[in-house]
Symmetry: C2
Subunit: 315 residues, 2 copies
Amino acid sequence: MGKIVCAVDLGGTKINTGLVTEDGKVIKSVKIPTNASEGPDAILGRIKKSIHDVLKMASLSAKDICGIGVGSPGPLDPVEGVVISPSNLPGWNRVPVVQILKDEFGIPVALNNDANSAALGEYIFGSGKGTKNFVYMTISTGIGGGVIIDGKLYSGTNCNAAEVGHATIDFKGPKCNCGNYGCLEVFASGTGLAKIARKAVESGKNTIIKDIAGEQPIKAEHVFEAAKRGDEVAKKLLDDEAFYLGIGISNIMMFYNPERIAVGGGMSKQWDILEDRVMEVVKERTLQPLWEVCPVVKAELGDDIGVLGAAALMI
Amino acid sequence: MGKIVCAVDLGGTKINTGLVTEDGKVIKSVKIPTNASEGPDAILGRIKKSIHDVLKMASLSAKDICGIGVGSPGPLDPVEGVVISPSNLPGWNRVPVVQILKDEFGIPVALNNDANSAALGEYIFGSGKGTKNFVYMTISTGIGGGVIIDGKLYSGTNCNAAEVGHATIDFKGPKCNCGNYGCLEVFASGTGLAKIARKAVESGKNTIIKDIAGEQPIKAEHVFEAAKRGDEVAKKLLDDEAFYLGIGISNIMMFYNPERIAVGGGMSKQWDILEDRVMEVVKERTLQPLWEVCPVVKAELGDDIGVLGAAALMI
């Protein structure tokens, strides 16, 4: 069976714990609610229990596995092994997750943030395999990323490298929650697209987006659905979305000169609709030596990316 | 005396060749014109002669030194040791500089582009000492850069990493020579500032910039001089200049999360005038964990940066 690691994907709403082989197969897993409002002690108790549970399911003990990888929301300190104060984990304040799990299981523990873990997961098990310099970009409610340099995850000086969503693409643009103005996320994230769509609807544009949303607030998915049905306003919104993503990807190439970029996250399910226009913008806007060595592909790990990313931290 | 390397700073107008000690002292040097129009064979002949000359000046032979570092305009391939086709070296087409100098001198030769060499020079001998993750940004007629990741120069997949001048900061901005629109260089380089100043003058604004320039075309230095004399239009242009640089530096932090950024190049001589406003913009626009770990400082190597950068490639 080869080496096995335990992977904990800690999120604001659920905890996904699995046993993963060194070639990236999830052999056992459990998914439990985080119940974030209960605070760190209760959550750490559930994490420990979930690890004991997957070990028992595989008839293994802690000494049979190489270690535990934990992917967590940031900010965190991967060197100290401390989760600092994630906005979706209330009450956490410099929680020494690595030491706590080491004390419980007596094996090595590695910690990094979810975007970095996902990048490493894609690099080792998915779309980044075979490269040396690789960028993973996640497009979801927000936009984040992780970068592999010379075959190693580059976390930056305090684990904040590859904040690709918050780099400015239009210095006169609207304000983002991050405090910056006109960053990529404010235009091209799922939240950004939905906000721009709501404005279009409110301004009285002739579109079926509102009808598709019905009683719900307008979301990115409603724009994609309207465009599929031929709605011109929605099609223009997606053309703009692809334009913004093209600028963002161009900037990634200018900074990192990677040999591959993978696009993941919820919105990447719509990549096929956006891809042609995105790549047109990338080629128009980027120095040719940069884009011609760097294909942009879809991430491959799908829903397992959280667990496989956490596993990759230990492999 | 310790180890000595030979350094060749090949530019479009001059070739600067020196012998450099491992602690960054230039012990002998010669500066000769490139005469770029004469093509690669003549220039390579002059480079070889300049190396023989500095060795003779120090009463050394090639076997007494560790190797030769060459900083050259790009595009080039540092792995193959080939200069591809720099725009300011007409007639060059995949010239195997490394092999040619190895054949002549029988010692190791390293090649990289001028921005990367300068970054490594600042890292080893100047403003980047003591860090692990460091970015050097040069603000001159153009804007370029180089990045050190985990203590090593990161050149990227084909030696085009850290094209910080050509990343977009305003996707609706003016077209740059690079083909992109609204990149940092088009706003904040010396050429960019001069162009914006010329437009201000042509639009009839009440400013002494034109008087200072006299018969010459308006240059960045004329704007700085006018501002020093209290010219309000020039002061506003420099306020904008600092704003653009703040956005550019913010983006560098978002991508690389470095622990220090150094600013060099001709325009950095005016850094003291720009610094306060630049840093105000950086702090307004950047995630706090990024700016609070990353001081922005002036580069230290001054006019020796070309030779010391080339030397650093070999140290």
